[in-house]
């Protein structure tokens, strides 16, 4: 039975070729726009969040309050101290509490200067933790080890022409804040803007270089058990409130899980994307109106036909299904063509982005739900648009319908 309905619907669409095509173009344009926008948008979001992909799930980061512009630790009023780090290390459930210093500095090599992003790495067991958290892997040379003074591991970008006009190699010297440093290793490329541009040096050297024994820009806490994350966070907050003499609700510091920070970033990006999708979705709405219009016309044209069908025993429901399938079909075929073109278009764009601009930010990413979702959505738009005309057709009185003339 349903099969026959389908046959009839397809036949009707074929008979009104031009109109059907134009109707489908309406849906096609909207779906193509949405599919390409979503795949590019998701690609961009994945590219941005992967910049922070080195954040592990078992890490809490602690920062002092202030207006943050630039790297962590700038603009804070009452900085965290080495003492805080040690006290946090004794909190139950904390595996490691690590002081980190993050600063900008002047670097010099090949007669050229550059503003560098310098981060510290601690001695002992915590060194492994930081290497794991920050996902530092070596490409050439070696990682830093305890006792290395005035030695650095450079981010992958330093191994290219990008920074000083010629690559820095292992064994060479580089000047940072007027002090000479020996390059012991170049890190693997991580595709992260921050990590690939970072200069890593031992904590002790960095303290000496910046002449600062106390201040900590960021404390990284590794928890023993990921499930206890929230409890550990509460304990640390309680301790710091006591240490810094502030009441609950008035904290001048923040304890945040890396995962949460990433989620917040994700949410913000998603809100922007959603706005763009909604604007693109307007065209789909207009396409839906086109289908509705075509279906009204179809009902009108076939009034006599409907009368005959009813006269020979077709039920209201049969008539309804007939038109409903027809409009759903218009939607899905338009949608399928749209998905194809949209996907091809965004692949084309990401090809251009890679080849011409060399940018990793412009790339197509197709989440698993995108293509089935778009197809389902276009079918729904089509069938919803067809509901009212189909009801109209189903409700026609056989006698009136038979008598109808244009």
């Amino acid at each position: 039975m349903i099969q026959e309905h389908f046959k009839l619907a397809v036949k009707n669409i074929r008979q009104r070729k031009l109109r059907s095509w134009l109707t489908m173009i309406g849906i096609f344009i909207g779906i193509a726009a949405i599919v390409s926008l979503i795949s590019m948008g998701e690609g961009l979001r994945v590219a941005i969040t992967s910049q922070f992909g080195f954040l592990s799930t078992d890490v809490l980061t602690i920062q002092a309050g202030g207006v943050q512009m630039g790297p962590p630790g700038t603009g804070v009023i009452n900085p965290l101290t080495v003492d805080d780090t040690e006290k946090i290390g004794k909190v139950a459930g904390v595996k490691a509490s690590i002081s980190r210093i993050v600063r900008s500095a002047d670097s010099e090599f090949n007669g050229r200067r550059n503003m560098a992003y310098v981060v510290s790495i601690p001695d002992g067991d915590n060194r492994r933790e930081v290497e794991r958290i920050a996902n530092i892997e070596i490409d050439k040379g070696r990682l830093l080890k305890d006792g290395d003074t005035y030695s650095v591991v450079l981010g992958a970008k330093y191994g290219t022409d990008d920074i000083f006009g010629k690559p820095v190699s292992v064994g060479q010297n580089i000047v940072i804040n007027d002090a000479k440093f020996n390059v012991v290793g170049i890190a693997k490329e991580k595709g992260s803007f921050i990590m690939d541009n970072a200069v890593v040096m031992n904590d002790e050297t960095m303290r000496e270089l910046f002449d600062d024994d106390e201040k900590v820009d960021i404390i990284a806490v590794v928890v023993r058990n990921v499930n206890e994350m929230d409890d550990v966070q509460e304990r640390i907050e309680k301790l710091l409130r006591k240490e810094r003499n502030v009441d609950k609700g008035e904290e001048d510091f923040s304890v945040e899980s890396a995962k949460k920070a990433l989620e917040t970033l994700n949410d913000t990006l998603f809100a922007v994307q959603l706005f763009v999708y909604i604007i693109a979705g307007i065209s789909l709405l207009v396409g839906g109106i086109g289908i509705m219009n075509t279906m009204y016309t179809a009902v009108l044209e076939r009034t006599k036909e409907i009368g005959i069908m009813k006269a020979i025993g077709a039920k209201n429901f049969d008539i309804f299904v007939l038109f409903f399938i027809e409009s759903g079909y218009l939607g899905s075929v338009g949608g399928a063509i749209g998905v194809t073109f949209g996907a091809l278009f965004s692949l084309f764009l990401s090809f251009i982005g890679n080849a011409a601009l060399g940018s990793g930010l412009i790339r197509a990413y197709f989440p698993w739900w995108l293509i089935p979702g778009a197809l389902l959505f276009s079918f729904s738009v089509g069938s919803i648009a067809g509901i009212i005309p189909a009801i109209g057709a189903a409700k026609l009185k056989p006698v009136d319908a038979l008598r109808y003339t244009k």
Binding site: I25, Q68, G70, G111, A280
Partner: protein, 403 residues
């Protein structure tokens, strides 16, 4: 004759009410979105252009750092000597150094962090002019004001920064030092600038003794007849030489205010253009819808066309009848679209202002309204062009025969 075409158009639109309304609806939706987005874009360009021309034309801004660094980074600052050097440059008429820090503000047990600016009280006028703000309530800072501050606009609004709005004469704690509020600045239009706090540079150094003699910003005014861009370039070169840096290695930035704001404006314009482009996809779909309806209309009225031709209608008459019909649909759709777009954009502007972004204010220039209406008519007429041509070329005899 012309009027008759219109008459025909209305007649057949009314006859096929439902279909015409659906078409009008599809144009309306697209025009609404485009109109609202353009009006926001226009509002932003107006804002940026006003900033650039009114206040920025002759101003040059110097700031520390660049790249990864933060303006709070203690290693980057201008020295008194450098400031003097810039001040004495040829073509610089007015000059004022500024400094800034992140500060902790407390009032009634509530704590916030914000940017504290230290200004040269003799040159307040230049700063007010550059930021297009003035003290609305209270008085400007003057020499000798040490423990006195002027607050950004948002401090006088309840529940914006502090629950209770601050008043002139109130006392607040800044980095644990009590300060008296002596005035409030007018609104800039974004939450960051509107929550800044201003004090004299002497007061600033009292609060941050280690910052004494260091500056983070400077504003210069070019004398009339001088090209500010050239002065900015010369100043950059001078300072670069002074610091012994090569080109491209500057750890400071000197630009004209116009350049800075134009860059900002250009980025906003690109974003707006992309949004408008995406929104206009729906207008294209609407055009396809109209074309579709017109083909149907031609088909339905084939006999009518035959009769009209038989009694002497020319091809061009038929052509016009259909073009005007679709044009009128486009026009009505655009008219309603402009109306809805206006309502939506005004509401959006109010929401943005409520959130502290009064710089996001839509404007509705006359050309935009007329442009949308004309565009709607042309779009409709254009969509009707092919069906109309098809209709006009029908052979009378065949058309009369059509069943």
């Amino acid at each position: 004759m012309r009027l008759e075409y219109l008459h025909f158009a209305f007649d057949s639109i009314m006859h096929r009410k439902m279909r015409s309304w659906l078409n009008i609806l599809s144009i309306l939706i697209g025009i609404t979105a485009v109109f609202a987005l353009v009006s926001f874009g226009q509002g932003l360009s107006t804002y940026v252009n006003n900033l650039a021309t009114e206040m920025g034309k002759d101003k040059i801004m110097a700031q520390v750092g660049g790249g990864f660094s933060s303006p709070f980074d203690e290693r980057y600052f201008f020295t008194q000597e450098e400031m003097n050097m810039l001040e004495r440059m040829k073509g610089v008429e007015d000059f004022t150094p500024m400094t800034m820090a992140s500060a902790k503000i407390e009032k009634d047990d509530k704590r916030i962090y914000t940017i504290l600016l230290g200004l040269d009280s003799d040159m307040i006028r230049l700063i007010d002019e550059m930021m297009t703000i003035k003290v609305e309530d209270g008085r400007d800072l003057k020499k000798g004001d040490i423990f006195k501050v002027v607050l950004g606009h948002n401090y006088q609004i309840p529940n914006k920064i502090f629950k209770k709005p601050l008043r002139k004469g109130d006392r607040i704690m800044i980095n644990d030092v009590e300060m008296e509020v002596i005035g409030f600045y007018s609104e800039v239009g974004n939450p960051q600038d509107d929550s800044q706090i201003y004090m004299t540079i002497e007061g600033f150094y009292t609060l941050f003794p280690e910052e004494e003699g260091k500056y983070k910003y400077a504003i210069m005014r070019a004398s009339s007849g001088e090209d500010p861009a050239k002065i900015a370039e010369r100043a950059t070169e001078r300072l670069r030489k002074h610091r012994g840096l090569k080109k491209g290695e500057e750890n400071f930035m000197i630009t004209t205010f116009e350049q800075a704001i134009q860059t900002f404006g250009a980025i906003l314009n690109i974003i707006n253009a992309v949004l408008i482009l995406i929104a206009s996809i729906s207008v294209v779909v609407a055009a396809v819808n109209i074309m579709n309806t017109m083909y149907t209309a031609v088909l339905e009225r084939t006999r009518e066309i035959g009769i009209m031709k038989a009694i002497g209608a020319k091809n061009s008459d038929i052509l016009f009848i259909f073009i005007v019909e679709s044009g009128v649909i486009g026009f009505i759709g655009a008219g309603l679209g402009v109306l809805f777009g206006y309502l939506i954009a005004s509401a959006g502007g109010r929401i943005a202002a409520e959130a502290g972004y009064s710089m996001l204010k839509p404007v509705f220039p006359l050309w935009l309204i007329i442009g949308c209406l004309t565009f709607g008519f042309c779009l409709g007429a254009f969509s009707g062009l092919f069906p109309a041509r098809h209709a006009s070329r029908l052979k009378p005899v065949e058309a009369l025969h059509y069943e």
